[in-house]
């Protein structure tokens, strides 16, 4: 797998209340693992939503696999785990297997029937993530960690080339969070899946991601974690002590 997976050029998202994102330009190559970090309200989630065509772009452009986002239709190449799922309806009556199977709809044409082979794919994905034993449980009844694994399985079941995760660890305890980050790094390394991960954990994501994108409405940094740690701009932004703590957290 090679080539450019994501490209944003002078991307901006402005609403009546003001601009959430301004003049963001970057590109992501196949196999990259990009950690998107920044303070609350810095536009991290808006950025990934704009890339996916979920929010309107007011200036610039965004492309996925070379196609402009508004006209992108190859959803089978993308796996997505949105932030809003932390507020998932606890009485939703779908089993883990039924929930994961929804991820295969991106590969289907109308009327999107699932075959026996599709269900075997669902089982294989659950098995790969070590959650086959909970396939018949209701998604709303799982612990935070199990739920997040099930939703990751949903994002991976269509064997995507690009995986976009929006604050996937927000509801997890530190130990489960660490395991989750290792799992994503493993998927990136062994399957060559390009990963875009939005998080607040600047220090932790730096241990795994190949690139960091620091956002505060505008893109303030885009490069490797090493460069991030030695960047005078980031040092000026965080203060030397905080930057040192972030870069040496293990």
């Amino acid at each position: 797998m090679s080539g450019e997976v994501v490209r944003a050029e002078q991307l901006g998202c402005c609403y009546r209340e003001g601009c959430v994102l301004e003049d963001v330009s970057f590109s992501v190559n196949a196999g990259d693992y990009v950690g998107i970090v920044g303070p609350n309200g810095s536009g991290k989630s808006t950025l990934v939503q704009a890339l996916l065509g979920l929010v309107a772009i007011s200036s610039g452009s965004a492309r996925l696999f070379g196609s402009r986002c508004g006209g992108f239709s190859e959803w089978g190449r993308v796996g997505y785990l949105p932030q809003s799922l932390h507020l998932m309806n606890p009485i939703f009556p779908a089993t883990v297997a039924e929930t994961v199977a929804l991820g295969l709809l991106s590969l289907k044409k109308f009327p999107r029937r699932l075959s026996r082979q599709d269900w075997e794919t669902v089982d294989a994905t659950l098995d790969n993530l070590g959650i086959y034993d909970i396939r018949a449980k209701l998604i709303g009844e799982l612990s935070g960690g199990q739920q997040q694994r099930a939703l990751l399985a949903r994002a991976l079941v269509n064997d995507p080339e690009l995986l976009i995760l929006d604050e996937p660890t927000a509801a997890l305890d530190p130990e489960t969070r660490e395991r989750f980050y290792h799992m994503i790094a493993d998927i990136n390394r062994t399957r060559g899946v390009t990963v875009l991960l939005v998080t607040h954990d600047t220090g932790v994501i730096g241990q795994h991601a190949s690139k960091m994108l620091y956002l505060d409405k505008r893109m303030l940094f885009y490069g490797s974690f090493d460069d991030f740690c030695h960047s005078p701009e980031m040092s000026a932004l965080f203060g030397e002590h905080s930057q040192h703590l972030m870069c040496h957290r293990h």
Binding site: L54, G76, L105, S106, R112
Partner: protein
Amino acid sequence: MDILEILSYGFIQRALLAGVLIAVLCSVLGVFLVLRRLSLIGDGLAHVTFGSTAIALAFKIYSAASLLVSLPVVLLASLGILRLTEKARLSGDAAIGIVSATGIAVGIILASVGGGYNVDLLSYLFGNILSITREEVLIAAGLFCVVMLLLGLFFNDLLAISFNEELARVSGVRTRLINSVLVMLTALSVVLAMKLVGIMLISSLLILPAVSALQLARSFKACIGLAALQGCCSVVAGIFVSFMTNLPTSAMIVLINLLFFGCACGARRLITPGNSN
């Protein structure tokens, strides 16, 4: 009077057949509506049905033919609710409230101007399944087939948007189209259910079987099946009990549904360990 004797009456046979078909439709759609937090859309569209029925009666169009006036009006109203939420940046309940109030207002004005057909209009308010005609049964059967076919074709898309609309879009589901399909199917079912439980009680037929099933179901398909089963049982039991006790059928159907809901809540407390709160 035994059950076989009751079943020998033509009006009971028609009521049971139409009632079961409508109950299945409402119960299945209700699961999606409850999960989409659109439970009250049935109520809103029922009020529009009241207005459209008043229009039909104003033009001296009665019985099965009045459905042909109600259907396009209620279908348009259902799409109007969706567009209001999208374009006017209103929440779903506010949009339903606006359309609902408009429907009632039109109905009241026409009833007031017409005067002479208030009794007919009242029969639509509270429903009377036992007076259902052969033509109405045929229309119910035809629409049942159409709605079930569309539900089957769009089932996975409906499930996807019920789970999470953003995720559904990234799975290539045309969420706007599927939302329109859902509210239009609901509109068809509401018009059909008007004769069964009446405009005032339609939302209970959409909501109660669905929320009962949500208490007990261990999978989405089981939830759909349980809701449909409760809908059918409540209609059959409601018709028999009301016939034997000489009480209104529509209200009896709703009360039996409420009883099922109470039982489902009780059963959930019993089977779910540690769920005592």
